[in-house]
Assembly symmetry: D2
Homo-oligomer: 323 residues x 4
Amino acid sequence: MNSFGRIFRVSIFGESHGPAVGITIDGCPAGIALTIDDFTADLERRKAGAAGTTPRKEDDIPEILSGVFNGYTTGAPITIIFRNNNTRSADYDALKATPRPGHADFVLHEKFKGYNDYRGGGHSSGRLTVCLVAAGVVAKKVIAPSIVNAKLVEAGGNTDIEAAIQKAVDEQDSIGGIVSVSATGLPLGLGEPFFDSAESLISHMIFAVPAIKGIEFGAGFAGTKMKGSEHNDAFIDKNGTTRTNHAGGINGGITNGNELHFRIAVKPTSSTPKEQQTWNKETQSVETFTVKGRHDLCIALRVPVVAEAATAIALADMLLLKA
Amino acid sequence: MNSFGRIFRVSIFGESHGPAVGITIDGCPAGIALTIDDFTADLERRKAGAAGTTPRKEDDIPEILSGVFNGYTTGAPITIIFRNNNTRSADYDALKATPRPGHADFVLHEKFKGYNDYRGGGHSSGRLTVCLVAAGVVAKKVIAPSIVNAKLVEAGGNTDIEAAIQKAVDEQDSIGGIVSVSATGLPLGLGEPFFDSAESLISHMIFAVPAIKGIEFGAGFAGTKMKGSEHNDAFIDKNGTTRTNHAGGINGGITNGNELHFRIAVKPTSSTPKEQQTWNKETQSVETFTVKGRHDLCIALRVPVVAEAATAIALADMLLLKA
Amino acid sequence: MNSFGRIFRVSIFGESHGPAVGITIDGCPAGIALTIDDFTADLERRKAGAAGTTPRKEDDIPEILSGVFNGYTTGAPITIIFRNNNTRSADYDALKATPRPGHADFVLHEKFKGYNDYRGGGHSSGRLTVCLVAAGVVAKKVIAPSIVNAKLVEAGGNTDIEAAIQKAVDEQDSIGGIVSVSATGLPLGLGEPFFDSAESLISHMIFAVPAIKGIEFGAGFAGTKMKGSEHNDAFIDKNGTTRTNHAGGINGGITNGNELHFRIAVKPTSSTPKEQQTWNKETQSVETFTVKGRHDLCIALRVPVVAEAATAIALADMLLLKA
Amino acid sequence: MNSFGRIFRVSIFGESHGPAVGITIDGCPAGIALTIDDFTADLERRKAGAAGTTPRKEDDIPEILSGVFNGYTTGAPITIIFRNNNTRSADYDALKATPRPGHADFVLHEKFKGYNDYRGGGHSSGRLTVCLVAAGVVAKKVIAPSIVNAKLVEAGGNTDIEAAIQKAVDEQDSIGGIVSVSATGLPLGLGEPFFDSAESLISHMIFAVPAIKGIEFGAGFAGTKMKGSEHNDAFIDKNGTTRTNHAGGINGGITNGNELHFRIAVKPTSSTPKEQQTWNKETQSVETFTVKGRHDLCIALRVPVVAEAATAIALADMLLLKA
């Protein structure tokens, strides 16, 4: 299902090299001020251009098809589309025989019996994260005054991220990274016991972002090495403020009013410039090949704004459900 | 929402010290052989008894209220309940003033305005994982011949788990651990791009298990330190078999037919025997207290069978959706 | 899916001749006073006993397994079961060869490949409406001070219902009827344009009640013979009070604050004492047969309390979603 | 929620006088041939132009934004939009003070706190049924070789429909009608007991069509006047063929393989040319007014193709769920 959410519900559509990509946001409250300008900052943050990012550049101008009237959300579904202008589909024809390692080419072809739009990853392309970012802009307004903040804290295993990128450029091999996400100002009480725990809903959305392979809340994996008496966060006032925050702001699946905090693992960009091996469907043998096309050396550079969006979307849904 | 799934849909109910806990499985295909005996092995694996586990013991005899007739599932909802016999509620009255650090006591009281059943954690109790295990037994039959296997691979930061438990007993402080989960025999094509990626659906279910604070698929966090040319798993035959499995069997959110593999972080049991500090609502000050009641020193010991169940439930839903 | 609702979510389970039938209500707000006694009146209204109703009598004592603590709802799922005590399964063995006309026997056997519990209609039995009534009791508390009221207004085409029943008893043939349902005190604004219109959600629930074959809101079918100038309900004050109510309290799929009103068609009980014809699977021919077992001559007599419950459930969900 | 369906899932968006209206179809199987030409016939059937229909004419050219590649569905979401070209918004400014009787103007304004796009009914406009028709075209392909057929069988209480329209034109007052819908070739087994009965799902979708106020399956309301021995449909062969079809092809909420049949009540068009009374918000009194704008005298003329679409959508979802 290409949708997420019970109240604040997002539905994504489009292919990398089709006419447009887009997202519909259903369940957004009426009366939220929203203009095209509101999208600029986050769309710019997601854009390529820096060292380590793809040379493919889109204008990324959102077109709001519905749900906004006289500068305010109306309560009806908000559909935002982005036209695809800068497509070079010929880059991809050669790939039909050689599914790219680490990519979804192979599984998409099998799952959809060859009918999938394979150009540029089709519906699975990172291109569609522009839609997540757009929905995130709306979600951030819904959760205000709570604020979500994400930043890249490690690239290629190095906390000096500029150095890491330079090394990747020098070596012409892609790298991954770790993004740290936090949210402040959240009310206590978001999430439910068991299936709709805050961790369940947030991780569900975070793993909707391409290239994410891990998530840990609060102390996470490091916390497994702590003792209970160290890990437990002592309550120190009637509001539930805790002295430490090893739980990442979530107890028993429910936000406790402290800072929400988690970290996510971004794998190295699958489209490395390095030579690789893969199965060639035509020759029926393993062959060496090199990915063509325009790609990011470190997709993790562009993940923070997408991770913020994904987090805000999950939180908006939880907030409206609780309201 | 205390439910999960689109086709194979589980709904959990009950409180630790109420009359019973239970689970309803809706959408299970008709014609699967199912008897009470099928539950024994997994329920035993979940039970307390070993060093490091709680002295509270329940008979854990499942009562099938519906959905099974003449030894086979009927296609109607399967409801399984477990009566609560061995409750000592008095243990918990003292806790009303002092919310236990690391537990949901505080957030539950606030979220449900004091109406929650606070005895033994109420609806949020680990007691309810017996229901997940029961649903897991059914789910495992649905995904057969695919098999899910989980094991504790690290406790308190130590891969010698017996030694780790003995140390926790000696120190009288709780510990956490890491559980490794794998599934073999899965078909290619489970999961969808974006919101219903295999990672999204599995992590959603895994974080429904109490005490889980992290998950990583394949190389996960370690993978962020690899180069793309190292991390990518080369396809080596027409079935999509890969030479390595850093992706954990998932490309672009869709299973690729290789072994599914992920690891989960289990935090130290919140109910450590050690003295702790917390806010006392009556005295309006931070006070030292000690948790009473019967608890596990290392809840991670009992997590594997629950994690298997959670995984099987998520996979059963994906499988039936694809079928 | 044996569930209904987005916020106030009910899930039904059980078979007519199994151990128990039950319902889980998820999403009920915490803090609503609820005791066993609250169920008595509506359960009595549903019970058999009057002329024209089945001689099968159950005690119909609800057992609350979860979600209620110290006399109040806790916010956790409420599961209520009814044990089946008075089953005479032998009545049904003969029917395996001869599917009863008007019943689901035939389709259930085919749909579930013969694994369905065929005794007494199994999971499709009218017995399970006791669960709907129980959930309705809770739903009515949620929508208070709004009140739902249903009554049988016509039986066998006759508005003198006692006479109609007597005639059916004399003729020993079952009859149907029309039930009128209204709800007062509802706020304006329930329902959404298009797919979640108030009519969509209410009819969805109403057709979950066995034997219902029609529904009309306001003037309904008679309204198709009116002119627009007659049918339109003039607004006469700032609150949206209308002079007439041909719309049944719903404009554009959304409640307008006037009385909600609709009528439902209940078909004649399928289990008539009269001789009938049906296909005999063993002899492979059409044969005459007579339904055995204990049945209602006019199931419509017992529908009003079930229709009230179904309506209250749909309204509770809409109300909580709007809140 | 502006979505319907569990597997074949449609989501509608857009406003009558906004940039575009559209629909996303998620869950459509890959490999179905689909071109723009496939939409022509049904879109033409929905169009205005005949006596009794609105003079507003749109080109109604569908633009497929996603989900179709090389003439086949890809398995990814299909989004189809229709640009709004022929809008005369000035017609509606005068209505802000005087909510039109029978319309959703009043409730929309209250529900959305005045932020709704009121022009031409906004998101609630009949204009959006063009989207339903488009989704219906796809749904009809999914359910093939089953066929859905709807026709207007009565207008203004008259089965001579041309005469009825002429009378409405002469009297300059709008009229309603009854549409008969049937589906042939459906498999046995669609629908579930209780909440997802075939009647529940079909009526849910049918009441998403504006102006519908009633639905009856098979003998429906007339069936309430029959005796059980008359109403029951005798099975006459091993496939479940029945001698009569008073049940409309549904037993116990599940299709029985016979023709599906139901009738729907369409109210008279709310926008009658006749003078009417309504509350004037500015003068705070009941006043006489006349609806301006371009409207249908008998919207029922355009309902059949929309009802076919709604039915096909519901059936497609049930079919894919069963598959």
